[in-house]
Amino acid sequence: MSRAPSLRQPPRASRSRLLCALGSALVGLLALSCRARVKMPHVAESGGDTSVFDATHDAYSLPAPGLSSAHRSAFFVGNSFFNQNWVGAPSSIDSRDGLGPLFNARSCSGCHFKDGRGRPPEAGESLSSLLIRISRPGERGVRGAPLGDPVYGDQLQGNGLPGVPKEAEVKIDYEAVAGTLPDGESYVLQKPRYRCDELGYGPLVPGILMSPRVAPAMIGLGLLEAVPEATLLTLSDQQDRDHDGISGRPNRVTDVVSGQAALGRFGWKAEQPSVLQQIAAAFHGDLGLSSGLFPEQNDTAAEAPARAQPTGGAPEVSADILKAITIYARVLAVPARRNHQDANVSHGEELFGSLGCAACHVPTLRTAELADLPELHAQDIHPYSDLLLHDMGAGLSDERPSFAAQGSEWRTPPLWGIGLVKKVNGHDRLLHDGRARGFQEAILWHAGEAGSARTRFERLPRSERAAVLAFLESL
């Protein structure tokens, strides 16, 4: 089984210098022959001045330093609503009822546990921090929006209130995909297959499109929102001019407040334009809670037992609570790197740049001025993302287009803080559906535009691959 090796101390200096020199020479030549050089940051503070130094299981849960008193209060209030379980209506506590009737989780923290990353279920477990978006084939809505199943809507909810059947129990089977690296190291990847058991409301439309998504970590979202749109569009244009096979595209989605087109930034396919809309959509789809942005329930007229349930008010999530959670999510701090000066890590960082990974996992962006959140203003941040869509090949395709994104296109996920997933969430599952066990498997799944960078990674000697993985662990 090919697993990401754990971080090791670098070898003794003389050997490491020799290896460094040879490796860097080789890689340097490769890099210069075909690619623009990306300057790697080599700094600990991935979130600029808003970074926090904490590598405990609270690493994703801390507020950015320097918050105003009002934002500090909103952070903690938002945190409490993020963590708490919602209940079915009616209940004695008006501020937290309205759950469901159909839902994936009872709380935000049910999927984003400790503000961290979800995973696919273990054998025998139900889906908890992985959900399935669905849409009917062949038809699209405004700006290419996916259209949901006429009965089940655009997402399968695996839970219902008492008396309301759940929509489905999704089962996952994994197919082994074996391979060998050029140096002879063998590996076995696992490719998931999904099937729906126990459909609660009759059949799905034939050929239903399914897109599995694990809950991403919550850190640094306000910083990403603060990167000017022009920066991202410029990155897209530059990538087109390079003719290096990498060509990131912005997703164009709908801002539900204005009804206008907007640049998509958040979610696995960049389907949400703002943190606010992302949160309101998650309340709506994942918890079955209405808000000012999504005033409807998530069930359809064909789901009669759900329709018959009382609601928890209109809306169920008050504007104040939505605002507090949005501030909370925007100022959750990015943890600083732990050992960025370690020679092996530093070497891995250079390799990450020279292999071409950094062409999409863009190391450095700068935030603009934010009138309502000056705490995040003008920061050099290191998310290792361009927030653009890239073709990742057939192996990773969900075959479900969404707005401008094709099935094989995914938004470059930010990598900051990713070395702490194991600490915070106790697992090492990566990619949109959590199929990869550790960094190396995730890299080996890269294809399409990322195929040549993956090939260069595969050709590295084992110690150099370990350096790249050590760099990722340091984030």
Partner: protein
């Protein structure tokens, strides 16, 4: 605290390809050497004035005091938890108002030492391994017991999925559906002893008959009593484990490793624990949230209405560490060279300021009138809300000062204190 860019980062090279390759080779060698040398280079910012031998000696003694305080605090907590276990067993053997009252008193007494130990959290120390099984809150009590009679939704009623209750089961269900799906620990025990706090003028009033099979049917009384016993047993087990990790008589434990750490690393943990409890935990989650929402669901010990005591004891625990002083449950005192002395030896004024602020925080916490769920209500001018707000402010001030302490010793810890703007 931005780090400066180092020469090995920049390999951008102009010129035609052949020249570029040659120049690249040169720079690559330079880069490789400097990469390998990165470890030996000075850290990002100017190194702090080194600990003098005298200061390191004093700090080392203060760290021993800290470890002694931790051991005494957890030993007291475990001993009180053992008494609590005895009291809940007496309740289930002979349910009566008297035995229920005795069990509630035992819970209140068990809560005297524990909050004073919370300052030892937040740095992957012994308690952080098990804290979620000990003191997690706020709890969604319907995860444990359905809110409506006849529902099968709580762990207690759900005999289909959980036919046999065990400590392992309770531990495995903890936090299963999110951060308030809590199945065990002090606050679950509190809920089982008091029941929901639905009254404005007092704590929950669960009848003792809930534990009596003569009164509560369907085997629920017995399940509830078994659940209560198991939760207390689990609490005791975890607290004993943490106590043993700080026991000076047990070689190879955490205490030994802690006292062998470089002084600066151990000090960073001490300050991180103090600052994390002061700032995000106590002033933020435990006080700001109920203050802003005026919702008793957000108070720490909502079923027993003893939150006011938690706040005082948490603040006192932080002061204990600074002063190197802890009064045990039996009235005896553990004390020794203190953190304040270490700070004072480097910066006398800062040491005094911290001492004064910690004492003001404890005083502010003591001024919050009980019950806490009433103190948070009314206008901002109401005496209760003024006292809660003053405590929030006092705790934030001391968190800022702890940031100054971290800077004094060049400790890289984040205390979520407001950034000092020029």
């Amino acid at each position: 605290m931005r780090s400066r860019r180092r020469p090995c980062e920049d390999l951008a090279i102009p010129g035609p390809v052949t020249v570029r390759l040659f120049v690249a080779g040169f720079w690559v060698c330079v880069a490789a050497c400097s990469l390998a040398g990165c470890r030996e280079r000075a850290p990002d910012k100017a190194p702090p004035a080194a600990f003098t031998a005298e200061l390191a000696g004093l700090a080392s003694k203060a760290l021993t005091t800290y470890a002694d305080l931790a051991f005494a605090g957890y030993a007291d907590s475990a001993a009180q938890a053992k008494k609590l276990l005895g009291a809940v067993d007496a309740l289930s053997e002979a349910p009566s108002q008297a035995s229920l009252d005795a069990a509630r008193r035992a819970w209140v007494l068990a809560r005297k030492p524990y909050p004073q130990t919370e300052v030892f959290r937040f740095y992957d120390g012994p308690i952080d391994r098990v804290e979620t099984l000990v003191n997690t809150w706020p709890i969604d009590e319907s995860y444990v017991e359905a809110s409506l009679e006849g529902q099968q939704t709580g762990i207690i009623e759900n005999t289909k999925d959980y036919p046999a209750l065990t400590t392992e089961l309770l531990a495995s269900l903890n936090l299963k559906q999110g951060e308030t799906s809590i199945s065990t620990g002090y606050h679950v025990i509190e809920f089982l002893l008091w029941g929901r706090d639905t009254r404005a003028d007092g704590p929950g009033d669960r009848p003792y008959t809930d534990f009596s099979s003569k009164h509560a049917g369907n085997g629920l009384a017995q399940r509830r009593a078994v659940y209560l016993h198991l939760a207390c047993e689990l609490l005791l087990r975890e607290l004993e484990e943490v106590r043993d990790d700080w026991d000076p008589q047990r070689p190879g434990n955490y205490r030994e490793r802690f006292l062998r750490m470089p002084v600066r690393d151990a000090l960073a943990l001490v300050v991180k624990g103090m600052g994390s409890l002061s700032g995000p935990e106590l002033s933020g989650e435990r006080l700001t949230v109920p203050y802003e929402t005026k919702d008793q669901e957000n108070e720490h010990s909502c079923f027993s209405d003893t939150t006011h005591s938690d706040v005082v004891l948490d603040a006192l625990g932080i002061e204990n560490v600074c002063l190197g002083h802890y009064t045990r449950v039996d009235g005896s005192v553990v004390s020794g060279p203190s953190l304040c002395e270490v700070i004072g030896a480097r910066d006398r004024a800062l040491g005094e300021r911290l001492k004064a602020e910690l004492s003001r925080s404890v005083a502010a916490a003591r001024s919050i009138p009980a019950p806490f769920d009433q103190a948070i209500l009314g206008t901002d001018e109401a005496p209760g809300r003024r006292a809660v707000w003053a405590t929030i402010q006092a705790l934030q001030r001391q968190t800022d000062t702890l940031s100054d302490v971290a800077a004094l010793f060049d400790l890289r810890v984040s205390l979520a204190s407001p950034r000092k703007r020029p």
